[in-house]
């Protein structure tokens, strides 16, 4: 593979890696708050993209559509948590897995019924004339994706480390009893985690749609790969999730050049199985969540 091709693969890898990072972060937030893996996480991404498409079709300008889509998914996430997740928490892991799988299936099918089976496009945020960087062509949308992803990660970092609410959330996942004694409302923390998780996943979905389009079935794959990224970084470790996401994206992108594009998807699953079999705590160590 030539150097230009290599750079090209890296660029595409970083692009999808951003979405994996956001999805992995979404998993991590919910896992840290509840100890539960939200198997419908990928659907948040998918719905973000499709919602934005719908809003644009209704005539809303793109930035507004972005915000509305993200808000809609945030609302959905909150609803899901209140109605479905809360009663599941005492029911045990098997019940939670089955229920979130069911949620994923239901959301996917609803999306198919609303938007059809075609993959739908969205206008790129700032045009589609490629830039030339290091001999490879870079879509401006890619800059948006990576840039916004890094901004989101930074904002979350600041939120969780500097603000009182953020610290309260972290306290909850480290020691729920002590946090409660300090007046932190556990149920509010869980709700917040779901909302933030929905927001960042939906944002990822909106950002990636101009590049790779979005269909009702896109979420399932993104969700699985996002989980693979989170596991690679270490489940429950937010930095691990982000690094895992980018790492997975880059490995996937390079594999297109080294193996073939047909097996691209398999890379994530093989990495997932390797992590789970060989080093379940991931690269940076997973959290053992003290569940409420």
């Amino acid at each position: 593979m030539s150097f230009e091709q290599f750079i090209q693969y890296i660029f595409s890898g970083i692009t999808s890696g951003s979405i994996y990072a956001l999805t992995a972060l979404g998993f991590t937030l919910i896992y840290n708050a509840t100890g539960l893996i939200n198997l419908a996480q990928g659907e948040f991404v998918m719905l973000g993209g499709l919602m934005a498409v719908a809003m644009v079709a209704l005539g809303l300008p793109l930035p507004v559509a972005f915000l509305v889509a993200v808000a809609a998914v945030a609302l959905l996430a909150a609803l899901l948590q209140q109605v479905a997740i809360r009663p599941l928490l005492p029911k045990g892991v098997l019940a939670q897995v089955i229920a979130t799988v069911g949620a994923s299936l239901a959301l996917r099918t609803a999306a198919m019924m609303i938007w059809g089976r075609e993959a739908l496009p969205l206008e790129p945020f700032s045009g589609d004339t490629p830039l030339r960087v290091a001999g490879a062509s870079l879509l401006p949308q890619t800059v948006w994706v990576v840039g916004l992803t890094l901004v989101i990660v930074l904002v979350l970092q600041l939120f969780y480390r500097r603000t009182l609410t953020g610290k309260a959330v972290r306290a909850c996942s480290i020691n729920p009893q002590a946090a409660r004694l300090m007046g932190v409302s556990y149920s509010r923390v869980v709700l917040l985690s779901f909302i933030v998780s929905g927001v960042i996943s939906a944002a990822g979905g909106v950002m990636i749609t101009p590049i790779s389009f979005m269909s009702y079935s896109s979420g399932a794959l993104i969700g699985l790969k996002g989980f693979a990224a989170a596991a690679l970084g270490g489940l429950g470790n937010p930095m691990g999730a982000v690094i895992g996401g980018f790492a997975l994206g880059i490995l996937e992108g390079l594999s297109v050049g080294v193996i073939s594009s047909g097996y691209k998807d398999a890379v994530a699953f093989i990495i997932l199985l390797l992590v789970l079999f060989v080093r379940p705590q991931g690269l940076f160590g997973a959290r053992v969540v003290e569940k409420e």
Partner: protein, 382 residues
């Protein structure tokens, strides 16, 4: 067997417990004298009478089912309904295996479509490309599925909870990708056509009623054997390890071995069902074995209930018949209904099943909600 009253707190060592009772000799014993023994009076035959009659008494439900199923072709002639019944039979076989894995052993597989696919593709490839006899191909494909299940199962079944679920999902996806990518073998997304129907001697099973007897015959035998398994020593060990792997291990149960064993068994059943379907539809393609199909298989187990293997029957019936009903209103809504059913069933299930140990441990460490029987607070645990 004398009964000692409660005033004699006699606890002799297990050496007496070990003294093997001679019990009733041979096959004509009495129905279990011990209350609490698992059902179906498996302690030898009923009280006298022919073995056949004893069998019927013990397995009344099964006999009724067999009679009903085998008489159906007398009343049903519409090819469409007969084909639905045929799918129900093979689906039933897969779900029985998955029921053993999930309801009995407490594991989960979100990638079981892969094993159905291995059976279907195995049969299709061996028969159309290598000229194998279909029955031999079915056995070879099943053996292959078992081997894959063991190889995948050993590392995977060490995982618990969502890790296990995700690993099986990943496995399912990998098999799907292989089906599409190994074009030389599988024809990729085009699939393999021209899979011949099954025959025995001169009898051609492409005739719907003949096929009905064949496939339901197999399904009924599998059902009976599965029931035997659940009420056997091995079945009991599965239920024990589902409840608490640690306790089962402490009693001498090699839980890793049993889990992999039941996983392989469920893979074999899925494979056989896949082979039957391949010969019936005479066509295999990758999109028959999607993750959605895996989820629908899990739905069948969950809907039918975890109490016994009968759950596999109820679940299969619901999952095969419901789409026919929903289709009249909206073609696409079926999976939405399944998804919602899964959520609602889990929300309203009273049982806290599966991975109880892990949950308990986490609750205790977190110091949060009270977990198991309150020990009166008098003596604090360490």
């Amino acid at each position: 067997m004398t009964h000692r009253g409660p005033e004699a707190p006699e606890l002799t060592s297990a050496s007496s417990a070990g003294r093997m009772g001679d019990g009733a000799a041979g096959g004509t014993g009495s129905p279990p004298a011990v209350p609490g023994a698992p059902g179906r009076g498996h302690v030898s035959g009923g009280s006298g009478g022919t073995p056949g009659r004893a069998f019927a008494r013990r397995n009344a439900g099964f006999v009724v089912l067999a009679v009903v199923v085998l008489c159906l072709p007398l009343f049903v002639s519409d090819i469409y309904y007969l084909s639905i019944l045929a799918f129900m039979a093979t689906r039933f076989i897969v779900v029985i295996g998955l029921n053993l894995l999930m309801a009995q052993a407490g594991q989960i597989s979100l990638g079981h479509a892969a094993f159905v696919g291995l059976g279907a593709y195995g049969s299709a490839i061996l028969v159309t490309k290598a000229g194998f006899n279909p029955w031999v191909a079915m056995v070879v494909a099943a053996a292959l599925s078992a081997a894959v299940a063991v190889v995948i199962g050993i590392p995977t079944l060490r995982l618990k909870g969502h890790y296990l679920a995700m690993a099986t999902l990943g496995f399912g996806e990998i098999v799907l990708i292989l089906m599409i990518q190994l074009k030389g073998l599988t024809n990729g997304t085009d699939g393999i056509t021209g899979v011949p129907p099954l025959t025995i001697g001169g009898l051609d099973f492409s005739e719907p009623k003949a096929y009905h007897f064949l496939v339901w015959g197999v399904a009924l035998v599998v059902f009976l054997l599965a029931q035997n398994l659940t009420s056997s020593r091995v079945g009991r060990s599965l239920r024990a390890l589902r409840r608490s792997e640690i306790a089962a291990e402490s009693l001498g149960v090699n839980t890793s071995y049993r889990k992999v064993q039941v996983f392989a068994l469920s893979a074999v059943l899925a494979s056989i069902a896949g082979s039957f379907d391949a010969h019936y539809i005479q066509f295999v393609s990758p999109d028959q074995f999607s993750i959605t199909f895996s989820i629908i298989l899990v739905t069948s187990v969950v809907v039918g209930g975890f109490r016994s293997v009968w759950g596999a029957l109820w679940g299969t019936m619901v999952v095969v018949i419901l789409p026919e009903v929903v289709k009249r209103f909206n073609e696409d809504a079926v999976n939405l209904v399944f998804g919602l059913m899964l959520i609602l069933l889990m929300i309203f299930t009273p049982i806290r099943f599966g991975w109880l140990d892990g949950l308990r441990k986490r609750l205790r460490r977190g110091g949060g909600a009270p977990s198991t029987p309150p020990d009166g607070g008098r003596k604090r645990g360490g």
